[in-house]
């Protein structure tokens, strides 16, 4: 199936999954297009993992119509797994297995597999190939799991809470890795509870809360839909200056606050910061530490759910 946005590789309709009396996921529907990085973001327990594992065919939904690469995850379980790559939120490898052994082993499960030596190189694991998996750091282990998810040269890659528990540096280098995966022509579906990760990495984001999708769009559109204002914050060299009269006339400015030498200009529009800086310079008002504060996905979540996103 092809739409204006491209070929649909994953289609989920009316997904519902309960565990006993707890409803984990209720009426979730969305489509993922070929070549995009699609993310489900939301707090722990929102239903992200349940959803992704139903798509992978690892869990049985109570009700749904799911299609992945034109296959039904239930009926074509094994056929589907040959074409997708999976990194699970919680899983492990055999005790006392070495990195290269794990790759060699997993490669043997598929009818076609990629050159895992090259994969190790690409993931920065070449010097760890003969190390025991158990002895690796958290970031290195995640890289091995990413390698295993790529070992069959899959068309769709699922990454579930890939960067949870990693330090910021490891997280950033994993983001680069995910972008590389996309560049190599694969579709990536990931879940995260880091709003920043979704915002910086993904083409489209489904915000999930209490088992439902509360919003789905590109991060930019989601943020814009808030209609929230950009804040431009700066300090004046002299606290006796009163620049507000001169700034009021600028297009898009809605409000100006000044406390001592600190000024906050509220407004909308992409030109806002430039206009404010121009106005200040042309009036000869000296300022420092100017920065803009944009609304982000955290604000979107806050607005949609009425509460802060908690990890």
């Amino acid at each position: 199936m092809t739409t204006a946005k491209g070929k649909v590789v994953v289609k989920v309709e009316g997904l519902r999954k309960t565990y006993g009396k707890t409803i984990a996921v209720e009426n979730i529907s969305f489509e993922v297009y070929e070549g995009e990085i699609f993310s489900m973001v939301g707090p722990n327990g929102a239903g992200k993992t349940t959803t992704i594992e139903c798509i992978e065919g690892l869990r049985q939904p109570d009700k749904s119509n799911i299609e992945v690469l034109g296959l039904n995850p239930k009926k074509d379980e094994h056929g589907l797994r040959e074409r997708i790559g999976v990194q699970l939120q919680t899983s492990a490898l055999q005790d006392r297995i070495k990195v290269w052994e794990a790759l060699d082993l997993y490669a043997s499960f598929y009818p076609k597999s990629t050159d895992w030596e090259a994969l190790l190189e690409r993931l920065g694991l070449a010097d760890k190939r003969s190390d025991y998996f158990d002895k690796l750091s958290g970031g290195q282990k995640q890289r091995v799991f990413v390698a295993l998810a790529l070992i069959n040269d899959p068309e769709v890659v699922f990454l579930d809470e890939l960067t949870t528990g990693l330090d910021p540096r490891a997280r950033h280098s994993i983001w680069d890795l995910v972008r590389d995966i996309q560049k190599s022509g694969k579709t990536v579906i990931l879940t995260t509870h880091f709003m920043e990760e979704a915002e910086r990495l993904c083409d489209r984001v489904a915000i999930v809360d209490h088992g439902r999708i509360v919003a789905l769009d590109s991060p930019e559109n989601l943020i814009q839909s808030l209609g929230a204002e950009t804040r431009i914050v700066f300090n004046l060299e002299s606290a006796t200056e009163r620049p507000s009269e001169k700034l009021k006339g600028i297009a898009g400015v809605t409000k100006i606050e000044q406390i001592g030498d600190r000024v906050v200009v509220y407004g909308t529009g992409t030109e806002l910061a430039g206009n404010v800086v121009n106005a200040l310079t042309s009036q000869g008002i000296r300022f420092s530490n100017l920065r803009t504060e944009q609304p982000n996905l955290e604000d979107v979540f806050l607005t949609l759910t009425g509460r802060e996103m908690e990890a």
């Binding site: 056929g79 040959e82 490898l93 006392r96 082993l105 997993y106 598929y110």
Partner: protein, 247 residues
């Protein structure tokens, strides 16, 4: 069964890298036969007629060897692969469940066989082990005992909620059987009442069968044991196929 060869090889490698497991399975029975043989010697006496204690212990220890493999090795291995998420990760590949099971059973049967062979060689070389059975029937009985116990171990692995439970239950059951099923304490010196009760343990049938075949009785003389062990094998496979859990 794509992946079977590599998976079996990895199972073997990681097994041998765990010295305690490898020791307990392979070396422990060998060590016991050397210790018991040295203490009592293998001279025929009143208790066992024309046979010595080593001639009785070697076939009896079959029960111990298959018991250790099935109840301390196979069942905890599967329970732990499930608990840690190793099985979950494997499930996310096209690998078939039967392939995983075949790899594990192949490994555990190889180790069981090695333990058995080492014990027999040591018995022969050190104590002049006597053997009057039909080798083919003895091998068949050994294989039946092994697979019957593996099926039993699989059921234990599926029933137990976690590794600790599987481990504890396996050990208790193993030691109970080692003492009551004629392995450590030969049937000749066990009261009749205890022998009657011990009929409920699968290991009792292994000991009876192996001891009988060892001194020249045939499988036909032991139809009861054969049927019981076959029954455990079939029931174990059916039950574990029904209740097997990936996570």
């Amino acid at each position: 069964m794509r992946g079977l060869k590599k998976l079996t090889l990895i199972e073997l490698k990681t097994f041998l890298r765990n010295p305690t497991g490898a020791f307990f399975t392979i070396i422990f029975p060998l060590m016991l036969i050397l210790v018991f043989g040295s203490i009592y010697s293998n001279t025929p006496g009143e208790t066992f007629g024309e046979y010595g204690i080593v001639d009785v212990y070697v076939p009896s220890f079959t029960g111990m060897i298959v018991g250790i493999s099935a109840l301390t090795n196979l069942n905890t291995d599967i329970a732990s692969a499930r608990e840690k998420g190793i099985l979950r990760r494997l499930k996310a590949t096209p690998l078939r469940p039967l392939t995983i099971l075949t790899a594990k059973i192949t490994l555990v049967f190889s180790m069981t066989s090695i333990a058995m062979i080492l014990m027999i060689i040591a018995g022969k070389l050190v104590f002049g082990l006597r053997f009057n059975g039909n080798p083919i029937e003895v091998v068949a009985a050994f294989a039946l005992s092994s697979f019957s116990f593996f099926a039993f171990g699989l059921v234990v692995a599926s029933i137990m909620p976690n590794v600790r439970a599987a481990e504890s239950f396996g050990f208790i059951l193993l030691f109970l059987m080692l003492f009551l099923s004629g392995v450590f304490v030969p049937f000749e010196i066990v009261p009749d009442a205890v022998q009657q009760v011990a009929q409920v343990f699968p290991m009792t049938h292994v000991t009876t069968l192996m001891r009988g075949l060892w001194i020249g009785q045939s499988l036909v003389d032991h139809m009861k044991e054969v049927v019981v062990l076959l029954g455990i094998l079939v029931a174990g496979v059916l039950i574990s196929a029904k209740i097997f859990r990936w996570e």
